[in-house]
């Protein structure tokens, strides 16, 4: 009954009035961030990190606040998917397929409440799964040496590139861009500057927060300038919001199945929430058959991807906390948050700082319940917030990003770098090069190189040491399979097209 006593300790931390207030505030803010078109979870969490940092919160409070924002944004994403047919982020895409048609039939309120309940089920089950699985995985992770860690990082890049992108070469290139940027700065082992080209500002390396805010938030502004903010007005009406008990009962098995599928997909390092919602939707679609009417606005088509998406968001926390390898773009941003707070994720986190882990898990459970209670009666308020026009929202986001990054170091160089990353993000996204591997590369590059170098020190330069344990060999096989296999399964994994009016 280790888990229960740990959980009791976690609730002891998370239920203090101040932390509870942070969780509620985070949920509210997160739902707004998720609901606003053009501000997804990764975006929102990224621009808030520097601000929480300057507010001087301690590690646990900051973590509680930001995970509440993270879960809230996952909930909020469905609002713009259903009402505007604009997915707030990649995983929310599947919700538009049935959510928007359902809203057009005049059942927008039902779709919103149903998806809220499905989100709750998915996230709640995933948090329980996280509680059971993470300590076990943390024990396994103690057997990981540098060779295994190197293989694990490789696995993350390979699966991310393989599953989440349409073109392997472009995903690999994106990872390399990130890794190459991570190398800039003073080398840890020799103490010599590397690739700084004599620039004093680059001696510290490139701050990952600068890269994240640039690639996600600033790039988004360029996209809105290109499109002149079109397509961000509400096309469907929301009348009365009640609780559709019939639909909830009819989809209960769908929610449970989708949560299972989503959780497993979330655990795979690098695969993340997009795969979770995709697999959940597709498996329910094939289970229902042609008569299921998926794609025409059926409740099951709304419940499945939302449960899967939120379960995957919880599942993605498992590799992030136990191994330090994030499973999706947003967990990569959360990893950045942990690193900013000087918390090193990994197996030792569970033994050295149990208060952080269990406080986090308890606050996830609390956030979940708060979100459900908040989302059903207050959905109308969130819908009102959607009316904020793009020509106020996007300049506002830009200015908040600037202040956040400026408050980190107070140097204009970081701001210029951020604008540069914004331009890079625009070009990469235009060319269909995924930007999440770039972030992952910047975050993990230093660790990956250190793992390689430590392994070589241990073996005195014998490269075969990298494949010396069964765990390492297994990880290498998974990495190669994860990168190569999707090339042959392109047809199978093809994503359904977005519905256009």
């Amino acid at each position: 009954m280790d888990i229960l006593s740990n959980l009791a300790m976690g609730f002891g931390i998370a239920l203090s009035p101040f932390t509870l207030m942070l969780a509620v505030a985070g949920c509210f803010l997160g739902t707004i961030i998720g609901a606003l078109p053009g501000l997804g979870p990764s975006n929102g969490v990224a621009i808030l990190i520097p601000l929480t940092f300057t507010m001087g919160l301690d590690a646990t409070s900051a973590l509680v606040l930001m995970t509440a924002v993270y879960y809230g944004a996952m909930y909020g994403g469905r609002i713009s998917s259903i009402l505007l047919n604009i997915p707030g982020d990649e995983p929310a895409l599947m919700t538009t397929l049935d959510g928007y048609p359902m809203a057009k039939e005049g059942r927008a309120g039902d779709a919103l409440v149903l998806s809220g309940v499905a989100s709750f089920v998915g996230a709640f089950l995933a948090t329980i799964g996280l509680m059971l699985l993470a300590p076990m995985l943390a024990r396994v992770a103690f057997y990981f040496g540098p060779a295994e860690y190197f293989a694990l990082y490789l696995l993350a890049f390979c699966t991310l590139g393989g599953m989440a992108s349409n073109n392997q070469a472009k995903a690999a290139l994106a990872s390399c861009i990130g890794l190459a940027i991570a190398m800039i700065g003073v080398d840890n082992n020799s103490g010599m500057p590397r690739l700084t080209y004599g620039n004093m500002h680059l001696m510290d390396g490139v701050d990952f927060l600068v890269a994240i805010v640039g690639l996600f938030a600033i790039a988004e502004v360029f996209f809105f300038i290109e499109s002149h903010g079109k397509g961000s007005s509400i096309g469907v009406k929301l009348d009365k919001v009640g609780i559709p008990w019939k639909d909830i009962m009819a989809t209960k098995w769908t929610m449970l199945r989708a949560s299972g599928v989503g959780f497993v997909a979330g655990i795979l390092p690098g695969a993340g929430a997009s795969l979770g919602s995709f697999l959940a939707y597709m498996s329910e679609k094939s289970l229902a058959g042609d008569k299921g009417g998926f794609g025409t606005g059926v409740p099951k088509g709304v419940a499945a991807p939302e449960a899967g998406n939120n379960a995957a968001a919880g599942g993605a926390l498992v590799p992030m906390l136990t191994l330090g390898v994030p499973g999706s773009g947003t967990t990569a941003v959360l990893l950045a948050l942990l690193m900013t707070l000087n918390i090193t994720p990994g197996p030792t986190l569970f033994t050295d700082r149990p208060e952080v882990v269990w406080g986090l898990i308890a606050s996830l459970l609390i956030a979940n319940i708060v979100l459900l209670l908040m989302n059903v009666p207050m959905v109308k308020i969130f819908v009102k917030i959607l009316m904020v026009p793009a020509w106020v929202l996007l300049p506002g986001v830009t200015m908040i990003s600037f202040v956040g990054i400026y408050s980190l170091s107070g140097s204009y160089f970081d701001l210029l770098l951020m604008v540069g990353f914004g331009v890079l993000g625009y070009v990469l996204r235009k060319l269909d090069v995924p930007t999440v591997p770039v972030i992952l590369g910047i975050l993990l590059g230093g660790n990956m190189e250190n793992a390689l170098r430590r392994a070589m020190v241990l073996s005195d330069g014998d490269a075969l040491f990298l494949w010396s344990s069964p765990i390492a060999i297994g990880l290498w096989i998974f990495a190669i399979a994860g990168f190569v296999a999707p090339m042959f399964m392109r047809g199978l994994l093809r994503k359904p097209q977005r519905i256009t009016d």
Binding site: A172, R194, T398, M399, V419, E449
Partner: protein, 145 residues
Amino acid sequence: MASDRIFGLVMLFLALAYMASATQIQTSFLADPVGPRAFPLLVGGVAALSSLVIMLRPDPDPDWPVARTFLSLGLAVVVLVAYAYALKPLGFVIPTAIAAGILSYQISPRPLAAALAGIGLSLGLFVLFKFALGLSLIGLPKGWF
């Protein structure tokens, strides 16, 4: 097609330049078997290879915006860079109002609304950051009051 080929070529050159500068990294007497050069070289090598593949097997072209949109994107970058330089000497309020106003105008070209959005955002965010979040921002340039 053409976009990917150009992109691949540019990235190939960048990767090669990166590898070339990686060979210039100084090693110290505290050398480990791998040293500080090997990993950057490896990353550059993989990047060069991926760039070659992108050049040889390009995807269809994306929808590039028309020349006028490119012009306004370029202007947006100029505004952001100028804003980055102006933030320290000129304080928060004035540069923010101007930059936010221009960005707003570029998203939706209505001068009055954009000007109001700029001024409103500037003052609203200043109050939020300064008094609600307690950041130490300089509102107006020193010596004005």
